[in-house]
């Protein structure tokens, strides 16, 4: 079985977020990046299947500049077999659909039996790429998986509102997007990291994939016109003073609420 895992490198959860000069994205210089947390669960789900079924190949795919190599190496260190890196400025500024078109071109060349992708990315929170990729490939998908089972058929529990779950069965090939908390993500072992150095990363351009002119900023059907710090509303009254003073004021308020 071949499994493709789509991963995105995103700013680290604690990274400082400043809007760039053009006001259209964040300032990316000098901030830390990591594999999108949702995609880490996607990769873990694939690696758990590989652990169970001999002969399973896990291919990780990512789009982005040189820095993405680091995340691909991490994924290979965790146990993926090989990587495809679409590294091309022509992909920059793609909307979700453009990103899905790039991933679809890779998927068509790879013909995986199963594709995992994170439910959303931690930067855009768009939750679009996975289902769009499945649509372009003409395969079924499901979203927000919190458990995955393959006993012949593929059965997924997906998250609904208020803690409810929906159980769905899917034909293969199919695509599943994963929720955080679906599994405990492994760390790359030292042995894994050493082995990863020898694993191949296949670098591709947009033209290699036959998509010149079809993706990137100019082909985007929707654009971020402006990214900005949300206007401050009423907001909280921020207490000032020493810790003791602040605590005194909090206790006063809690008394006022009749809770003491």
């Amino acid at each position: 079985m071949k499994i493709m895992v789509c991963i995105k490198q995103v700013p680290h959860q604690d990274a400082r977020l400043d809007v760039n000069g053009a006001g259209t994205w964040i300032q990316e210089e000098n901030i830390k990046f990591e594999i999108n947390p949702y995609d880490q669960n996607a990769l873990e789900a694939a690696l758990q299947l590989k652990d169970k079924e001999a002969g399973t190949e896990v291919v990780v795919v990512s789009i982005g500049p040189e820095r993405v190599t680091q995340s691909l190496r991490t994924a290979l260190g965790m146990g993926a077999d090989r990587a495809v890196h679409v590294k091309d400025g022509a992909a920059d500024g793609s909307d979700s659909l453009g990103t899905a078109k790039i991933l679809a071109a890779v998927a068509k060349a790879e013909s995986p039996d199963l594709i995992f992708a994170g439910f959303m990315s931690d930067d855009g929170n768009l939750a679009a790429t996975g289902p769009m990729l499945a649509t372009l490939l003409g395969i079924p998908h499901t979203t927000t998986a919190v458990s995955f089972q393959k006993n012949g058929a593929i059965q997924v529990e997906r998250e609904l509102e208020g803690g409810a779950l929906e159980v769905v069965e899917l034909n293969t090939p199919c695509l599943v997007t994963t929720q955080t908390g679906m599994n405990q993500v492994r760390y790359a072992s030292l042995k894994g990291i050493m082995a990863a150095k020898k694993k191949p990363i296949d670098v591709k351009t947009v033209a290699d994939l036959g998509l010149a002119g079809q993706v990137g900023a100019d082909a985007a059907k929707i654009k971020i016109e402006k990214l900005y710090t949300p206007p401050k509303g009423q907001g909280a009254e921020i207490l000032s003073g020493s810790v003791d003073e602040v605590v005194g004021k909090l206790v006063g308020k809690i008394k006022e609420l009749g809770l003491l």
Binding site: I26, F119, E166, L239
Partner: protein, 323 residues
């Protein structure tokens, strides 16, 4: 000019509140751009619900009534949407940002080769053009998204606007849907497992976030304050994802939605999915070292500081005040 197609959802046999919110957005766009509002209702035995929507702002309501649509199924729902698109020729499609919306809406956008604006909290019309407003980076930054062409598909956050509740006479049109072979199969819906902790009944909830750093800190820092206040302990999603506390402690759209007399958020930045679960609380105190954390937007009182300094002192002070 095309029409606006509202993809309505059925819940307990009726068109759900979030769909009437879509109607509000659709009518706002419709009035500003001279587009007609049309709707799709799908399910089994839904003609009364569709009829009601047609009298309450949904315009021409296409009713797709089929046993295969009784429970949400991606392929069956998508077939119904395709039939509705063929009948309504929309260039704006509105879907709710709900579990079925997450599944279905991107598929609609990709199949139309359209721009996609998910999880929006508003839509503006500027000189006849649509601009969608949504948050990026878990609520830390806002954005304006502008389609460069039509059609466009957008999903709107439930609760982002008031549900339309006026009377506006439309009509119901039965919609024949040819549902082919299904690539996905609905098996069952499971209700969350029996809860040991029912946060919805607590008068006071003290919640902790990822910055607590580990499960033992909840016992050392959060629980003592919760106990002193006679309340319950809660947590944000990353805490539960990391396995520090079981799911029943999770406050948020995918956990418990609470509205206690007092909610104390400690080291919680305030991702949207958490805010949805607690913003209806009567009084909110937030303690966080990041002054820009979105939690301060919904809080009544804020402390910008180290929770490890503030919370233990607050616990002692609460105990002292009780005598």
């Amino acid at each position: 000019m095309g029409s606006i197609l509202v993809i309505a959802e059925i819940q307990k046999g009726k068109v759900r509140e979030a769909s009437y919110e879509l109607v509000s957005f659709a009518r706002k766009i419709g009035a500003a751009t001279n587009r007609e509002v049309k709707s799709l209702v799908m399910g089994q035995g839904i003609s009364a619900a569709a009829e009601e929507l047609s009298k309450k702002g949904g315009g021409e309501v296409f009713a797709a009534d089929d046993a295969a649509l009784a429970n949400y199924n991606l392929d069956a729902a998508f077939a119904a949407v395709k039939a509705a698109i063929a009948a309504a020729s929309p260039d704006v499609v509105l879907v709710s940002n709900t579990p079925s919306g997450w599944d279905l809406a991107p598929r609609i956008a990709a199949s139309l080769d359209a721009g996609f604006a998910p999880d929006c909290f508003n839509v503006d019309v500027e000189g006849g053009e649509l601009v969608f407003l949504r948050r990026f980076f878990n609520g830390k930054l806002d954005s304006r998204l502008r389609p460069t062409s039509l059609p466009v598909v957008a999903t709107m956050q439930p609760g982002a606007t008031a549900a339309f509740d006026g009377a506006a006479e439309g009509k119901m049109t039965p919609l024949a849907v040819s549902i082919g072979s299904l690539g996905t199969k609905f098996v069952e819906t499971k209700v969350a497992s029996a809860k040991g902790v029912d946060l919805t009944k607590a008068d006071v909830i003290v919640s902790g976030g990822r910055s607590l750093g580990g499960p033992e800190k909840f016992q050392e820092v959060i629980k003592p304050l919760a106990d002193a206040l006679g309340g319950a302990m809660g947590a944000s999603r990353p805490v539960v994802d990391a396995g520090w506390l079981p799911h029943e402690y999770q406050v948020g759209s995918s956990g418990q939605v609470v509205s206690p007399k007092l909610y104390v958020a400690c080291g919680i930045s305030g991702a949207i999915q958490h805010l949805v679960g607690m913003k209806a609380s009567n009084f909110i105190i937030a303690i966080n070292k990041d002054a820009d954390a979105p939690i301060f937007e919904v809080a009544d009182l804020g402390v910008v500081g180290d929770l490890f300094e503030v919370v233990p002192k607050l616990t002692e002070a609460v105990k002292a005040a009780k005598g």
